[in-house]
């Protein structure tokens, strides 16, 4: 009994981390655009779907190698992100937060429709990255794909930190987020930074979609729920705080897997969202956001 309990827990933990890593990456994408523009990009979930579906076509239909397919898929979604910014966000003459958010909702519907036309309504199977059997750790099993997911999340986080702390472009993006006017007075082109934020957040979304597809079997309509969960993680972690988002994303995934396992798998989405609401009632700024920031933010 004792052993069974810890084994269960460990199993749920692995499942939770696997889900949570995806939420964390979606949340990072939300934050990147939020920091650059102050808006929530509701097409973030669609980036994830497009990345996954593109990868399916590249590997299963065209039989390309994993690495090459990965790069093409990420590049494709990045271009979609850039086009989205150039065609729908940048031309808005008097951008207000509400207007831009509604635009992103429209783009999300559009992308979803386009994905349905190209890939159909069915869900798409993709083989795991490696064929190895699941590893056994203290009676619990962990899929090799889960290890890929964890490794990818680690890489993305490291890349993210390195980019924003050690490169001039990254610092310029941060500067824009901290104080837009001061950044412009330093000669930083804020509009280009906004475009870059869309590009990067699309790329991160695509990576998340690519690595999760072998496990969840991607279909065109997955974006909404993935986006919602990622958004939840971003809010709980404190909007704009990407390291908070990673922790919150993992927590959300683990809570979800745990409540699915111990209480009811029917209610696991609801339970996770209720806990999220609970956190926000107690700490409106999220777990890692300062209450001072909340008052300054537009929402």
């Amino acid at each position: 009994m004792e052993i069974g309990l810890t084994t269960d827990m460990l199993q749920f933990l692995f499942m939770g981390i696997q889900r949570g890593a995806i939420y964390a990456m979606v949340a990072m994408g939300f934050n990147m655009i939020y920091n650059a523009t102050g808006i929530i990009n509701f097409a973030q979930g669609e980036f994830v779907v497009l990345g996954g579906l593109m990868m399916v076509s590249m590997t299963m239909a065209l039989n390309l190698s994993l690495v090459f397919a990965f790069m093409v898929s990420v590049a494709f979604v990045t271009v979609v992100g850039i086009l989205m910014e150039r065609l729908t966000i940048n031309p808005v003459r008097r951008p207000t937060v509400l207007r831009l958010i509604i635009i992103t909702i429209a783009v999300s519907i559009l992308l979803k429709g386009a994905a349905m036309c190209f890939w159909g309504k069915g869900s798409h199977y993709m083989r795991h990255f490696t064929d190895a059997p699941p590893l056994e750790i203290m009676g619990a099993y962990i899929l090799p794909q889960t290890l890929w997911i964890i490794g990818m999340l680690a890489l993305v986080v490291i890349g993210y930190v390195a980019f924003f702390n050690y490169t001039m472009t990254g610092k310029c993006m941060r500067a824009c987020a901290i104080n837009r006017d001061a950044a412009r007075l330093a000669g930083i082109n804020d509009r280009r930074m906004v475009m870059l934020s869309f590009a990067l957040s699309a790329a991160i979304g695509a990576i998340a979609g690519i690595i999760i597809t072998p496990i969840i079997q991607m279909d065109y309509a997955r974006g909404a729920l993935l986006g919602l969960k990622g958004f939840g993680a971003a809010v709980v972690g404190g909007l704009g705080n990407s390291m908070g988002a990673v922790v919150a994303g993992l927590l959300l995934g683990i809570i979800e897997a745990g409540s699915g396992g111990y209480i009811s798998s029917h209610y696991m989405d609801a339970i996770a969202l209720v806990i999220m609401l609970g956190v926000l009632f107690v700490r409106p700024g999220g777990l890692f956001g300062s209450s001072e920031m909340v008052r300054l933010k537009e929402f």
Partner: protein, 245 residues
């Protein structure tokens, strides 16, 4: 060097600048004084491209720069130190300077940026000691110096300063004004200055403009403005009683 011709500027429907015309010659220090809400800050923001021009023209070195975005004007050599020490508080002093010199990096590379930062630290030794610290942890005077240093990092020909003395102790204010005067000579800068502390500003200036409710009322040599009884009464806080009686 800088010329404004009948510039109008609005906040929503409110007309804030009403046909403002003024000029700043090469190598001059010019002060803009006026009460709160007179439109001084808006004037600077309009020049530096942060605020749109509704009507009128702005020329910089005989080039029409009306409607240029702020980041392009920086490249042209106009540096604006906005009101209230606009630094990047959650970043280190060093990062702030790097960002200030972001154009140097873009055009000349990393080495040049490093040497420019070193030069700037010679100019403001206090910042050298604080280099790895978060900019938000600096004292008010240090933050103002950092803000000025950041603006200078872009290698400007013209410096727009918005209330550099705001909220600072008198000793620090004196230090900052002395530095501005010295910088102007060493770097052959042209300076347009806004100040509540009109006396300190006019003391280092060549000329001054007086602004009221969006209009330029008066333009004179700094010395003459300092002696003008009306200006004294309204902005210098001296001899009030004599004039009233």
């Amino acid at each position: 060097m800088l010329r404004l011709v009948n510039v109008n500027s609005h906040y929503g429907l409110v007309r804030v600048l009403k046909n403002v015309s003024m000029h700043v010659g090469q190598g001059e220090i010019v002060t803009l004084i006026g009460a709160n809400g007179a439109g001084k800050t808006t004037t600077l923001r309009t020049i530096s491209g942060l605020h749109p021009v509704k009507a009128g023209r702005i020329y910089f070195q005989d080039r029409d720069i009306t409607g240029w975005p702020a980041e392009r004007l920086v490249e042209l050599g106009i540096a604006h130190v906005p009101e209230g020490r606009q630094i990047f508080s959650p970043m280190s002093v060093n990062d702030n300077l790097e960002l200030g010199g972001h154009l140097v990096y873009k055009h000349y590379g990393k080495k040049r940026l490093k040497s420019e930062i070193d030069q700037m630290l010679d100019l403001f030794p206090v910042l050298g000691q604080r280099r790895p610290q978060y900019a938000g942890t600096l004292s008010g005077g240090e933050q103002q110096m950092l803000a000025i240093a950041m603006a200078l990092m872009s290698g400007p020909r013209m410096l727009l300063l918005d209330e550099p003395s705001m909220g600072l102790a008198p000793m620090i204010i004196r230090d900052i004004f002395a530095r501005i005067a010295r910088l102007q000579q060493e770097r052959k800068l042209t300076v347009l200055l806004i100040e509540q502390n009109a006396k300190a500003a006019l003391n280092i200036s060549d000329r001054g403009y007086v602004m009221e409710t969006g209009r330029i009322l008066l333009e004179e040599e700094a010395g003459a403005l300092l002696a003008n009884p009306e200006v004294k009464r309204a902005y210098l806080g001296r001899d009030q009683r004599e004039v009233w009686e």
